[in-house]
């Protein structure tokens, strides 16, 4: 019998306890650690390399989707059973992506069924890879734009709230995020980040630049063909012809 290594990630003690109680009937699953927030979860995953995680969605610091996204970015993706109390949008997203989940409070039968599915998943690589966490999170947000971006660099996790994000520059497979005077790299394409942001707030002013509209002071025309966006802190970013067109459309709508 292979022993499955599991983590229980939930900010409420009693909620973790329920999962642990249900697991007592399954000696082939060993709980490696319990985590009360997203940061602890990332550390515990790195330390224990679990096969399976029970993951709550609403948690302090990092939510369940963000934890999964960061794990993915490091190439770790244990089998996941989401455990959540009430979030119709998230449920619809789980159903749509055939992701396993438990609704609090849940029955023993429901728990056992979810665990049985997860065991199969761990035993054999599934034919269809699990959906990327970002895609799942976007589906759960139901079209509402992203509010913050999470980045992991080694052991360090940075949470960037979008009102602190000045602009984003494309760098091959990475994006450079400019926030509070610092540059932070994240493995993501500019297009995929742009798709998750509020289009009225972040404008693609150039093939390689997304700008927080709030930072823009004015657009200057240097030569006939070349324009610069001047930001509050004096930074100048290039504005392409298409980007200028987008800005003008926004201004005309306003």
């Amino acid at each position: 019998m292979t022993i499955l290594k599991a983590l229980i990630i939930d900010d409420e003690d009693l909620a973790r306890l329920v999962v642990r109680q249900h697991l007592e009937a399954h000696p082939d699953v060993a709980v490696a650690a319990e985590c009360a927030n997203g940061f602890e979860a990332l550390k515990a995953v790195a330390q224990h390399q679990p096969d399976l995680i029970f993951l709550d969605i609403q948690m302090p610091k990092l939510d369940g989707f963000e934890v999964l996204e960061l794990l993915e970015s490091e190439g770790k993706r244990p089998a996941v059973i989401f455990v959540t109390a009430y979030d119709q949008h998230a449920l619809r997203a789980f159903e749509a992506h055939a992701v396993d989940y438990l609704l609090k409070p849940f029955s023993r039968e429901r728990f056992d069924a979810a665990l049985a599915k997860a065991r199969l998943l761990v035993a054999a690589q599934p034919a269809v890879p699990p959906p990327p966490a970002a895609e799942l999170a976007a589906a759960a947000r139901q079209g509402r734009p992203l509010e913050r971006v999470v980045v992991k660099d080694g052991p360090k996790v940075t949470v960037i709230h979008l009102d602190r994000l000045d602009w984003v520059q494309a760098q091959d497979d990475y994006v450079l995020l400019r926030t509070e005077g610092k540059n932070i790299l994240k493995q993501q394409t500019l297009a995929s980040l742009e798709a998750q942001l509020d289009p009225a707030r972040f404008i693609r002013i150039h093939r390689s630049y997304l700008l927080n509209l709030d930072r823009l002071v004015r657009v200057e025309q240097d030569t006939k063909e070349h324009r610069d966006a001047v930001l509050r802190d004096g930074t100048r970013l290039p504005v392409s012809r298409a980007g200028y067109q987008r800005l003008r459309e926004l201004w005309e709508d306003a």
Binding site: E12, L14, V18, F39, A85, Y86, L103, K104, D163, R164
Partner: protein, 354 residues
Amino acid sequence: MHPFLASRGRLGTYLLGWVPIALLLAGIARSQGWSWLEAVSLALPLCLLAAILFLGTWFLCRALPLGRTAEGLGTQGAVWSTAALLMGGLWAGLAWLLARLLAWVPGLGGLPQRVHVALPVLTGLGILLYLASVALSYLMLAQARALEAERKGAELQLLAQESELKALRAQLNPHFLFNSLNSLSALTAVDPARAREMCVLLSEFLRRSLGLGERRLVALREELDLARAYLAIEQIRFGARLRLDLSLDPATEGALLPTLLLQPLVENAIKHGIAALAEGGTLRLATELVEGHVILRVENPTDPDAPAPQGLGLGLRQVRQRLLGRFGSRARFEAATQDGVHRVTLVFPLETEP
């Protein structure tokens, strides 16, 4: 009731409207060689008769709303043509009768003869005037219907607002309920006594909030009891993460305020404050009485990494709206985050149950 008969002013306007028609009639008669006396003596009473007679068209118009189908219009055309012919004839007949009566008056002896000659013209005029009164009646009916629709719309909107408020008051936070039930599910195995306590607390909370949902105003005491039941449950859920600091002035307990005003504040403090902090924090709830005003404060620590909220959330907006809706400029609402503490302050006059 006919709209013209419903108000003296409107009846006056209607009758005044007939004066130019009477003058026109007299003018036509003059042009036919009638004397001024003959023309005016006949035209004025004749128009008064028409004014009274044609009031009836409004009732007929109401009974025969303008049809939308060609067929309906055809039927109505037939009805109105017949009615117009009859009324035109009747009016001319009345003119003839009137002339006979007026012939007794000295100087008007020639009137019957003159009217007799003018009978076809009078009939034609009668028909035209009758059709005009039909058009006017339909116009008035349409306007009345438009006004009625507008009034109904406004009424419906008011009703919708009212029911929205009702739904808001009866709203139980499902996230809270299911999470509590989940905690209960854990406790049943490890601590049955605590599980029972939680059942009682949940029942008390539910009973209180369902009872409050039916009332518009409650004493602060009842709002505080509900908040206590709610916080006792949350303390079981969050354990040591939720610490409470209650400082309540007994003098404020009788103060009346709109129902379920405190609950959203306390729920917000948990959801956006304590629950979002890994280490939790202290929720402060304080009331005091200052110069006849109740000051109610709810404070919670916030995540320093989270950006300050932009404007008020829906819950807080509704609290403010309902507080100011009740007390107007005598109340004050403040919400601000400062030094990592989110604080909502309500100030309102102390009004107790008589």
